[in-house]
Symmetry: D2
Subunit: 342 residues, 4 copies
Amino acid sequence: MIIKMSSAASDAEIAHVVERVKECGCQPNISRGVEYIIIGAVGSPDMRIQLEALRAAPGVEDVIPITHPFKLVSRQYKQGRSVVRVGPVSIGDGEVVVIAGPCSVESRAQLLLTAHAVRDAGANMLRGGAYKPRTSPYDFQGLGVEGLQFLKMAREETGLPVVTEVLSTEDVEIVAEYADMLQVGARNMQNFSLLRCLAKLQRPILLKRGPSATIKEWLLAAEYLLAGGNSDVVLCERGIKTFETETRNTLDLSAVALAKELSHLPVIVDPSHATGRRSLVPSLSKAAIAVGADGLIIEVHPEPERALSDGPQSLDLEGFATLMRHLEEPAAKLARTDAVAA
Amino acid sequence: MIIKMSSAASDAEIAHVVERVKECGCQPNISRGVEYIIIGAVGSPDMRIQLEALRAAPGVEDVIPITHPFKLVSRQYKQGRSVVRVGPVSIGDGEVVVIAGPCSVESRAQLLLTAHAVRDAGANMLRGGAYKPRTSPYDFQGLGVEGLQFLKMAREETGLPVVTEVLSTEDVEIVAEYADMLQVGARNMQNFSLLRCLAKLQRPILLKRGPSATIKEWLLAAEYLLAGGNSDVVLCERGIKTFETETRNTLDLSAVALAKELSHLPVIVDPSHATGRRSLVPSLSKAAIAVGADGLIIEVHPEPERALSDGPQSLDLEGFATLMRHLEEPAAKLARTDAVAA
Amino acid sequence: MIIKMSSAASDAEIAHVVERVKECGCQPNISRGVEYIIIGAVGSPDMRIQLEALRAAPGVEDVIPITHPFKLVSRQYKQGRSVVRVGPVSIGDGEVVVIAGPCSVESRAQLLLTAHAVRDAGANMLRGGAYKPRTSPYDFQGLGVEGLQFLKMAREETGLPVVTEVLSTEDVEIVAEYADMLQVGARNMQNFSLLRCLAKLQRPILLKRGPSATIKEWLLAAEYLLAGGNSDVVLCERGIKTFETETRNTLDLSAVALAKELSHLPVIVDPSHATGRRSLVPSLSKAAIAVGADGLIIEVHPEPERALSDGPQSLDLEGFATLMRHLEEPAAKLARTDAVAA
Amino acid sequence: MIIKMSSAASDAEIAHVVERVKECGCQPNISRGVEYIIIGAVGSPDMRIQLEALRAAPGVEDVIPITHPFKLVSRQYKQGRSVVRVGPVSIGDGEVVVIAGPCSVESRAQLLLTAHAVRDAGANMLRGGAYKPRTSPYDFQGLGVEGLQFLKMAREETGLPVVTEVLSTEDVEIVAEYADMLQVGARNMQNFSLLRCLAKLQRPILLKRGPSATIKEWLLAAEYLLAGGNSDVVLCERGIKTFETETRNTLDLSAVALAKELSHLPVIVDPSHATGRRSLVPSLSKAAIAVGADGLIIEVHPEPERALSDGPQSLDLEGFATLMRHLEEPAAKLARTDAVAA
């Protein structure tokens, strides 16, 4: 921690800060410049909060943290890359995993039709929302338990492991009963009660980045899961909120590369929510693979124009099959191997 | 709903859209321009989702919503302004309500000292967090039930009604047992499970705007509460996330004015979280009153440099008393009357 | 400057950095922590760039600047507040200055009608664009020199000093011939050629904040003017670009308070461009005054629905007169005195 | 244009709007809904501004534009893709063009060393700034004409065409004398005087996206160039300003895909400025190619830790050679062919 004091700070003010730094179990190291006095506080990282509060002490202009606030998710903590297993699927082992399915589970027929089609096209996992977080209370809120039952049927018929969102601590048990992987949605990335509850679960978690979460905040949300006992965490970049309105969100592929630089956790990309436009999904899928993502999660609907949510960004069955053929080509595969090696 | 089709759309594509608009119970109205064909779909607002999905239909370039998606919170629905009562305090009746207290309840002594001081300085309500949403799992997470008990003591000693944050549906019951008003924090603005649970409670709610929530999303979060049965909702602007890093967030006072133009609900302002800097709290407090806010919620700590959270933005007891004297002056009072009359 | 090195950095890497710090004329001061080694480089602020480049040296993880990069605009450099004189008007002396007029000068009649009306309502200066920066090349680009001539006529008839935007170094001479104050528009805030040219002019400058400029970048743009010889600079906050689309920009009143904390220059506010909505202009004008702004610049048009630019955010003549009556009331006046005293 | 009126609008107000629409040469088409009255104005796109001003008319709630505001840059205007030739290099013909070189031209030796190295590694063009836009007036501002002369030498020695930034209309002539392609920097994207001046030049232009420019604003800036007579325009995405601070900007690869969907102009990507971190440049370069970019512009410096600007994001000579070998591999090449075919 670096404490920056005004060069006009009194001796008493400096002594006070030095005293507090020592109280916090740290070693103060003073540099006097023309404009500022810098006190480096080296020592116990557990006193971060106490040291940061010194920003409120007289004569102090700023307190600048030096260490990253996350631990268990960091590459300093764990060398090598984590691989998260979801049934027979491994995420993070160098192969690109493709998760596909409808935004919402709308009916048994819609889900089964989609599940078979995405499996036949080469998808590795099935997605589908049974509990839907909707901006408006008047929009379709999901089929709930019935949706979970349809997901189970789809898994039994296709063999695809299932990921679905859980919105609330109360639903964790029932969702875990049906799903192979539980998704924390972007709006819930900092729902710490939910994170603490999922940390105790023996089930892999897909943690979406919040629309206004910095990379650090995202990794700290994952830290809640690991610190609570669940290391099977896959990060998912799905676009952030910016001033640009032509796309639904702004897909931040630099964050994918940086998250993999800072953390050992696998990172996948959701080009559907990120762009909000079906036409952009294929090219951003390729870019996600090229940047080093461990997988994709893509919205597919048999009849997008009748979808109860996210129709404009959903591929239809044929569009998804075409995309998969492109991703299966040597180019994409090699690009991938390359990215992994890097 | 306006459906924009390419002028290159085929007759079959146009006929298909017209058909779907009729299926949705709306009356299609076609205008043909040089570059685009515009189909106005007038009628049932309940078919919004179905109509929006037409963005995925062949030949359609865009679907543009015309109506606001919220109802019960709007001034169209309710003429006049809502007043929310919290014990003896009325929020939204033209008087500026000041809520003050520490970010976190840290101890009995800290809370009682602060509570007496803010009451003596003229505050109308006490704030203090017992359950704290913290970015890092290693930061102080609040005293929980013990914190609630201290808040109750403080109310009994000072007569100030208490507002405190509830993080989870599981805690709603216990928090409601101790608090006069329950706060939904910024990170939970779109925690729809929590909103649905609070909608059934007979207790006023303070709904903070999410750091990346548009004004519409904020009003729709309030709509969840009203639609679920709880009309005692106070909105709170606390800054949004932008590229500016000199302040913790960017206080959006235009949103206060606009929320009051669009909705009948009271709106208060949190200058502490918005700016993250103690020195800016007084001037932004005055600006909030001038723009027409119904109240302020301000962080106060007896010893900010030892605060377990948000020290740099907390006023100390003397700083708060000074601020209150400024706000009590005729200028601020008149400005306020003026704002209400406008 | 703080140089953060990995604790895994080799002795040679550390020695190399220490050597470079000394080459830059600074005194290195080393603190060794568990995770990081911190080297404080205290000394010549002129070597900032050279020191920052060390971020690229082996073993270095980050280089963190400690000092503010601006000098002449800072309150460290000049105690007290600057007052900028534009003809008979003083900006920054504690009185609120109101600048009003049309977005674009459209015709002699339109301008003179507006000028007389805003003067009669109490405005202190006249605004009006002769050279218009327009997003589209197909939009009205301003009347150019003819517009300047109309502005001069308006000044002669009303006595109001005139501020108008200059878009290009080539136009500086002609604009300076007609205008009392030259405006650097938001899009040109970092047009450094223009800034350097205006720095040599004996004429006050109104420097708008860029839509994505941080407060520091804004002050550094002003620093170009002061460093080049022109100290008559007034800053103008006009809203920044954020994800919120209900308002044209997001008015950042915290930036006004903070700019006045960091700099001695006067700061005014443009609520018209910031909000893009006429209905919000009065309440945000009051808030701007309450936060301590030294003035307002407001768009007024005799017939907003026929304006060639910015009609939706322009007040009509009556609307402006009403606003001025509100601002003249004791409340606003006192609020102001108060703000100045703070 | 869609004009949305309140259903409470009076007959006179509606008649007034209808009248104005007709005056603007458009055909009004009225749809009456429960909550709103919608007037479609179909006809002359040249009256956009006049129609938009109706937002200020009584009873009008909003005016919603339907058509894109750009023409010459659009794919509606020109089928097929534009290819821009810079000496022997073609940008937009399906091959990935790599432009490389230092941020600033610092000396003859530095530039020539870099130029030879990037040519040997496979770069197609040389970049280097002679006139530097710098946030602070105290930072290195470039060598000016001397820098241009060094660039010319480098071209003569290596055969690489040269692109360099022009900051001001006054410098256009001299820069055009030395450079093969002129760059409009991000901060100048809406410097309309400069754009108008460059539109008259017989020289290709590299137009960087502004840090807060929407895709539409970026295309409209290009429209200035095409409308003024210069069709040799290459767009360059270089990151936008968002709340994320771990990267210098947020690279918006969706914007690349979308710009190519909306416009026939070539689009290249600058991963150096976008990320501000050398370690992220290779993976984002690959992603840019995968998304369909026509080229890359990459900062390379023989000794990044002594660079006078942008050291932390510059590759050294070896790092660049390694990147080029990766991009030359079959994977990247195939990915590219694929993207072009798509």
